[in-house]
Amino acid sequence: MTLPDHFALFALPARFAIDEAALAHAYKEVQGRVHPDRFAAGTAAERRVAMQWAARANEAYATLRSPLKRAGYLCERAGVSIDAESNTAMPPAFLMQQMEWREALDEARAERDHAALAQLVAQTDAERVRLVADIGTAIDERADAAAAAPLVRQLMFVERFGDELRAAEQAAPPVSPASA
């Protein structure tokens, strides 16, 4: 038997815009029924099936709660591959901005400049919000997965950069009361 689609699993409409509270609630309802803890005293067969379903629910939840993964999933579902590895073509303006950010990060890291790091965080957050909104429009309103795919690739870049920013903030944590 094929397992249900991520959205169908949680009885949610297959759209990019998602009710996060409903998703979290449905996820917990589903885990409440399928989690291996519900079958700990059951037969080996029950435990095996429970593990498969619980892993499936975790995968579906991890995919749907992340805008980036959700967008990628919706594109693939519509037959449009994101193909991030081989398709690296980006609009020149986007690449330009990435290079500027990267230079700013290197500089802030070298100088342990927290104000500069915070400013970069704000900039990437704004860019992230813009991309998520555009992806939503492309998928939900225009049903145009092909137009969404390049935006998803850009969002991937922005999120990866965001991870690096967080790592930089952690490597040079602001002076905390504990160490003051």
């Binding site: 038997m1 399928v34 005293a41 037969t43 067969a45 095996r48 504990a178």
Partner: protein
């Protein structure tokens, strides 16, 4: 393999019968066992009314073994055969154990299955070679016997706690030890999560909590979100080689340095270590303590120790724990001020300077209202009670835990490709495709690693295995799909398949540090000796019980959800049930096992449809509620 079952064949447990289940905290310094009685979790004391079992095992020449208090005084007089803090060696090689040169044991490093790769270290004792798994099993066996005597019957099973930061090898070693002690492991449960259960249910807490758990030899920090009935671990971190023992060690070094005591005999060193621990405990209540001791050389030790100085020399250790807190918060995308409560767990959190530092870091006074020595085992008992099915519907909770360390594979150039990132909710299954790099390549080595670093050498090697028989193709044409599955115990299994040809290789991740199944079988045989039942007979009985359970469970499922099956599907399952029933009462263990496996596999699809129906029912319930709410 379940070694103990509550019911004999033909008289399986009635659905509403209370099933005996316990929680066990297998600690570095002390171990405990608890159960739920009349809805309340209680620690089970020994015959003398003592709740703690010191995690000390002494092998006495002549074959006897002492565990707990009887072994305790021999730390100094017989250090080599008196094993303390064995948890530090679980699933570890020699190189993993810090300050190993200071320990009085005779370590032997043995390759897994006699191979060249370093395996779990072993200890040479007067009773012969002992693996840390066997030493831990001695402790667990005493706790099992204590529980059975107290509860008046064999246990259905146990929830055994492990540090959240334990890697796969350490978890597997713990599970092996429990099996060896005759326990059916219902679940390995992370210690901070167990503490959160005890706290959360006791205080009816809601919100985001940090559990700071400093045990004798391990440190964990877990960030959890508690909403009605759900414990969701957001992130976990720690250090599986940092604990109260390290604070003792700093103090020991300080005493030796102040009293200018080098060199020290093994006996004197052990005695002073015990002294250092006592002094540490006194410094939690007094600002200054005099360290007095007389060595075997006649030398007299008399030096002062102050809490101020102790705080100073252990400051780097405290900072290490706070760095782990910072990292776990970042992983959970939270700041210290987002935390609604900080729960302190582990005897070592009694140190005032530590409590103060943790309080400052999180900007609030940590919670200490449940005994830090007991909170883990009480939570484990509650979870065991739940898993045994002793709860009423509606009066239960759900635990969503995570893996502490990323899992990956070695790729070209000694790099690690991560397959499952740390803090993924378990159970989790994830697949990744790899390809060949040479024309005509017919085999591929798969090296499984755990850790956060990018280089293979900086991560922990869990296992190596080989996929053979790949059809010769040009480089890059083969598609090797490697699937990682981490179960609810946090244990990994890996399978690999070449997707164009279907060639499959599967392993359970055990080889690098664990014990082989043969090892476990041999140890079990040894531990039962001649007085106990024959192993084969025992295995047969287990097969019969399991077959009976399977048949009953299938019949119940057919009675409630039989409408999900077409007539021919139903007939197939009925035939499979008949096949099990025909061999079930016989003495052919292999035939029973084969028929049971066939029935299990033959009902997978049915079980999956039942899961689906159960989910639909749950989600339909939600929409009815939503409608009710929106109309209210």
């Amino acid at each position: 393999m379940a070694l103990l079952q509550i019911a004999e064949p033909g008289q399986s447990a009635a659905p509403h019968q209370h099933r005996l289940a316990v929680g066990i905290d297998l600690g570095t310094t002390n171990s405990l066992v608890a159960t739920v009685r009349h809805g309340i979790p209680v620690v089970l004391d020994d015959a003398e009314g003592r709740p703690l079992l010191p995690s000390v095992v002494r092998y006495v020449s002549g074959g006897a073994t002492q565990v707990g208090y009887p072994a305790l005084p021999h730390q100094a007089s017989d250090p080599r055969n008196t094993i303390v803090s064995v948890k530090r060696f679980m699933g570890r090689a020699r190189a993993d154990v810090l300050y190993i040169e200071n320990l009085p044991y005779d370590f032997v490093e043995r390759g897994a299955d006699g191979g060249a790769a370093p395996g779990m270290l072993q200890l040479r004792t007067t009773a012969g070679l002992r693996s840390p798994v066997e030493v831990s099993a001695e402790i667990l066996r005493v706790l099992r016997e204590r529980a059975e005597a107290s509860l008046g019957g064999p246990l259905l099973g146990a929830v055994v706690t492990v540090p959240a930061y334990f890697d796969d090898a350490q978890r597997q070693a713990t599970k092996d030890a429990a099996k060896l002690a005759g326990l059916n492991v219902l679940r390995l449960l992370n210690e901070p999560t167990a503490a959160a259960i005890a706290y959360g249910l006791d205080q009816a807490a809601q919100g985001t909590f940090a559990v700071y758990d400093l045990g004798g030899g391990t440190f964990d920090i877990s960030i959890l979100r508690l909403t009605r009935g759900v414990f969701e671990v957001l992130a976990t971190g720690g250090d599986s080689a940092l604990g109260g023992d390290d604070f003792d060690h700093r103090l020991f070094c300080r005493i030796v340095e102040q009293a200018r005591l080098l060199p020290l005999s093994q006996e004197d060193a052990s005695a002073l270590r015990v002294k250092a621990r006592e002094v540490k405990e006194q410094l939690s209540v007094e600002p200054e303590v005099r360290v007095n001791a007389v060595l075997t050389t006649g030398e007299v030790v008399n030096v002062p120790a102050t809490s101020h100085d102790f705080a100073h020399i252990t400051h780097p250790l405290v900072d290490k724990t706070l760095a782990a807190c910072r990292k776990a918060l970042a992983d959970a995308r939270l700041r210290p001020q987002d935390i609604d409560g900080v729960v302190m767990v582990g005897g070592a959190t009694r140190m005032p300077h530590l409590r103060k530092a943790v309080g400052t870091f999180f900007g609030q006074t940590p919670l200490t209202n449940i005994d830090p020595d007991k909170v883990v085992v009480l939570g484990a008992a509650m979870q065991a009670n739940l898993l045994a099915g002793n709860h009423m519907a509606g009066d239960d909770w759900l635990l969503l835990d995570v893996i502490p360390l990323s899992l990956g594979l070695e790729t070209m150039g000694g790099l690690v490709e991560k397959i499952i990132p740390r803090n993924s909710t378990i159970p989790v299954a994830r697949a990744q495709e790899f390809t060949t790099f040479r024309d005509g390549q017919t085999a591929m080595a798969i090296h499984v690693l755990q850790g956060e670093r990018e280089l293979v050498d900086d991560c922990r090697s869990l296992a190596r295995f080989e996929l053979r028989g790949i059809p010769p193709m040009v480089a890059g044409a083969a598609r090797i799909r490697v699937t990682f599955t981490v179960d609810a115990d946090g244990l990994l299994s890996v399978s690999a398949r070449e997707t164009t040809s279907g060639v499959e290789a599967a392993i359970s991740v055990k080889p690098s540090y664990g014990l082989s199944d043969d090892d476990i079988a041999r140890m079990l045989q040894e531990s039962f000796g001649t007085a106990e039942v024959d192993m084969k007979l025992r295995a047969l009985r287990e097969q019969q019980v399991e077959a009976q359970r399977l048949v009953e469970a299938t019949q119940v499922a057919l009675a409630t959800d039989g409408d999900l099956l077409a007539d021919d599907e139903r007939a197939t399952i009925d035939a499979l049930i008949g096949a099990v029933q025909r061999v079930m009462s016989g003495d052919d263990a292999v035939a029973i096992a084969d028929a049971s496996v066939a029935l299990g596999n033959g009902t997978d699809d049915f079980a999956s449809r039942r899961m689906d129906r159960s989910i639909r029912a749950a989600l339909a319930g939600r929409s009815v509620e939503d409608v009710a709410r929106s109309q209210a």
